[in-house]
Amino acid sequence: MAAPVSLQVEFGGGAELLFDGVKKHQVTLPCQPEPWDIRNLLKWIKQNLLKERPELFMQGESVRPGILVLINDADWELMGELDYKLQDQDNVLFISTLHGG
């Protein structure tokens, strides 16, 4: 059982173009039986925030190669990537390093 989680989700490097050009999103994830991790967050983003062409942001259950993920200003590779358990008030930043859409 997990309480609702408030997050700041940010997009940069061009990834924001897939989200109506909005860089910062304040989101509250609803209650759900299992705790929120990045894997679930990505699913939630795909359903709730992503405006167009999900294939340019997602690949399978992860982000597309070339999109970097920072959790609280640190590389997600240090944090367990998809398995990182989100805490209340976490900041998740996606930076695209890709050239074209």
């Binding site: 940069g12 590779e77 944090m79 074209g100």
Partner: protein, 467 residues
């Protein structure tokens, strides 16, 4: 990368360590100072912010120090796109100039930004916004800067397609070039003083040029060419002997494979190497080619380097829009599972020699990319299809008088290298091509004809050259 051993060891770990599924406990120590790490550069190399900053700054100076092509006091033009790599490059230059005397960079930088909004599908308001944003960024550096619009590429002089006099040659450009340059300069300054840029007939002309191109691959190549020529022209008229561009290691690796697929294998070294001297008088230098795009993105984020994002070229196709994007996707996808992919491609590219791109005479130089024509002795192989030219403009969509032989696309083919032939065939009808390209092509076709005639006086053969 291996020579940077004191910087944190070689990237070649034991075996193909898969990145995915390594469950790390959260606070991992920085491999240099033991503080808490902020990012992983290569497999198993965690760095904290401070050590990462030192590593990043050192790498730039090491790159310039190792190659020794930028001399003290020299004027250098930094080509900025507003994107992450060139913005990080600008920061490195600022950083280097503000250092204590022993470690100070000693060249004199200026900046150039080319506004490509017209072909990137930005509305006028968006273009003005990006431009204002960019201008504010450039102004804040205190360096002299130039703003150019891609439209201005249509007004370039034909001399841009000829290499300038080498550094050992004549000191200045010829009078004619100087005059052309002066006119160009006045235009640019007029544009600057006018403040806002208004799209005129030149924007329409530019859009027509891009819309007539058949494939996104050729469109990407065309954009690159126009941009390079525009920057080169500014460098020439304003007296810069060096231009710095910001291609990252990731970008270089992608470009290596892309150009290979485009048939530009012979020129990989000049197209992607640290130094590109094909233009003779102006040297293009790529000091960012040792940084991965990940390092750059983290640097920009951690140290608040401002960037201005330009939207990608629009394409109609969703899947596999262009060779460039296809290769990007392929390499980055591979990199995900095999983290040595990019650096292996990059380091393999390092071993290539720039010699095949050197052209001795004008008739051996490609009209568009200025590399040596790589077409000797391959008549019966891959080259043959490039000589066949379907000409749909025959039936009237071309307004030009059909009389002049030099005004047919087929006449341009012998002037081009293998890769440029493929691209050129996918460009639109001649009438849409930039005037400077047509002017230079006609000049070269005429001079080739004259040469031919003087050689073949006794013969009555009217055929151009190929039988």
């Amino acid at each position: 990368m291996c020579e940077a051993a004191e910087d944190g060891g070689c990237g070649a770990g034991p075996g193909p360590a898969r990145r995915r599924g390594q469950g790390h406990s959260h606070p991992r120590p920085c491999m240099k100072c033991g503080g808490s790490a902020a990012l992983i550069i290569r497999v198993g190399d965690p760095f904290c912010r401070g050590c990462f900053h030192d590593y990043f700054v050192h790498k730039f100076r090491a790159m310039l120090g190792k190659n020794r092509v930028i001399f003290p006091g020299e004027k250098v033009l930094l080509a900025l796109s507003g994107g992450p790599a060139s913005s990080a490059m600008l920061r490195q230059v600022q950083e280097g100039l503000s250092r204590e005397t022993a470690k100070k960079l000693r060249f004199v930088p200026s900046l150039i930004y080319v506004d490509e909004g017209a072909v990137r599908g930005q509305s006028l308001a968006q273009r003005e916004q990006s431009l204002a944003h960019m201008e504010a960024l450039l102004q804040a550096t205190g360096f002299p800067f130039h703003l150019a619009h891609l439209e201005q590429a249509l007004e370039l002089p034909a001399s841009i397609l000829r290499p300038g006099p080498g550094r050992s040659g004549k000191p200045g450009p010829s009078y004619k070039e100087a005059v052309e340059g002066f006119i160009q300069q006045q235009r640019q300054e007029g544009d600057r003083n006018g403040g806002t840029f208004s799209p005129g007939p030149s924007t329409q002309e530019l859009l027509q040029l891009f819309e007539a191109v058949e494939t996104s691959t050729a469109r990407e190549e065309l954009l690159q060419m126009l941009r390079t020529h525009l920057i080169l022209q500014t460098a020439r008229t304003k007296g810069y002997a060096k231009v710095m561009t910001g291609e990252s290691c990731t970008r270089v690796a992608i470009k290596l494979l892309t150009n290979l697929a485009l048939g530009r294998g012979a020129f990989l070294a000049v197209d992607t190497g640290f130094m590109d001297d094909r233009h003779g008088d102006v040297l293009v230098v790529r000091p960012m080619r040792d940084y991965t795009s990940k390092e750059i993105a983290f640097y920009n984020h951690f140290f608040h380097v401002p960037t201005v994002i330009a939207p990608p070229l629009r394409t109609k196709r969703r899947e596999k829009p262009s060779i460039h994007r296809l290769i990007e996707r392929f390499l980055l996808g591979l990199q995900e599972d095999y983290p040595a992919t990019i650096s292996t491609v990059y380091r393999t590219g390092e071993k290539l020699s720039p010699a095949p791109a050197k052209a001795i005479s004008e008739s051996e130089r490609c009209l568009l990319c200025l590399c040596a024509l790589d077409i000797a002795g391959e008549e019966e192989l891959a080259l043959e299809p490039t000589l066949i030219m379907e000409e749909p403009e025959e039936n009237g969509c071309c307004q030009d008088p059909p009389a002049a032989r030099a005004e047919s696309k087929a006449a341009y083919i012998p002037l081009l290298c293998y890769g440029c032939r493929l691209t050129f065939k996918e460009l639109g009808p001649l009438a849409t091509l930039p005037p400077y390209v047509r002017a230079e092509a006609q000049r070269r076709i005429r001079s080739a004809e004259m040469e031919q005639q003087s050689l073949e006086v006794p013969q009555e053969d009217e055929e151009p050259s190929k039988s």
